[in-house]
Subunit: 117 residues, 2 copies
């Protein structure tokens, strides 16, 4: 059991991304079934088209971005919910003036990121 | 795969709570491993001390509340992360002027709420 401030959790750059950082808010070693992470992307930054071996359940906290999932594109902003099934190609490009930040929940299962371009 | 606005998801009262509503943002029938819900409590409202059969991974979106977990009490506010293991008694009391809102992720496993007082 714990309570922690997200802003005090260390952030690390995401290698495959550009201007993208990740914080592990609740790690796979802290809870039995899934991990809670927070991503932040500076305007113009993002992640290239890629797949993961696990699904993503996401909630946008601030900012806005263009997001591609499969063959579709979406404009997302604070208050949007995004579901990306395992194995579906997806990408992000942060837009606007402020950083784009979202929560991303993944199961505690082995993941592999494969960049597609 | 989908994108939806949280504000457009129907909300329902939580029977065991007071002034408390729940929205199922990503349901157990929509994703394989866990469900994403949003709870909102009006100031003065909340949930009595209870246990669940499943763990909670939570992120506070707005407002503030007094939260009891096990034998401890916390003041939480927007940007706080809360982890409540399965079976640990917990309660909420929304404080301040605006509604207290948080995300709560639970595994797709049978749950049972037991109110303790």
């Amino acid at each position: 059991m714990f309570v922690r401030r997200a802003s005090e959790v260390p952030s690390e750059p995401v290698g495959a991304g550009e201007g993208t950082t990740r914080q592990v808010l609740i790690g796979p070693d802290e809870a039995p079934n899934f991990a809670l992470r927070r991503f932040e992307m500076r305007p113009g930054g993002g992640m290239p088209r890629h797949t993961n071996a696990v699904e993503h359940e996401q909630y946008v906290l601030q900012g806005r971005a263009r997001v591609g999932i499969g063959d579709e594109e979406f404009e997302v902003r604070a208050g949007d919910v995004v579901y990306i099934p395992a194995g579906v190609p997806h990408w992000y490009r942060a837009e606007g003036e402020e950083p784009f930040a979202f929560l991303c929940v993944v199961p505690n299962q082995p993941d592999r990121i494969e960049v597609l371009e």
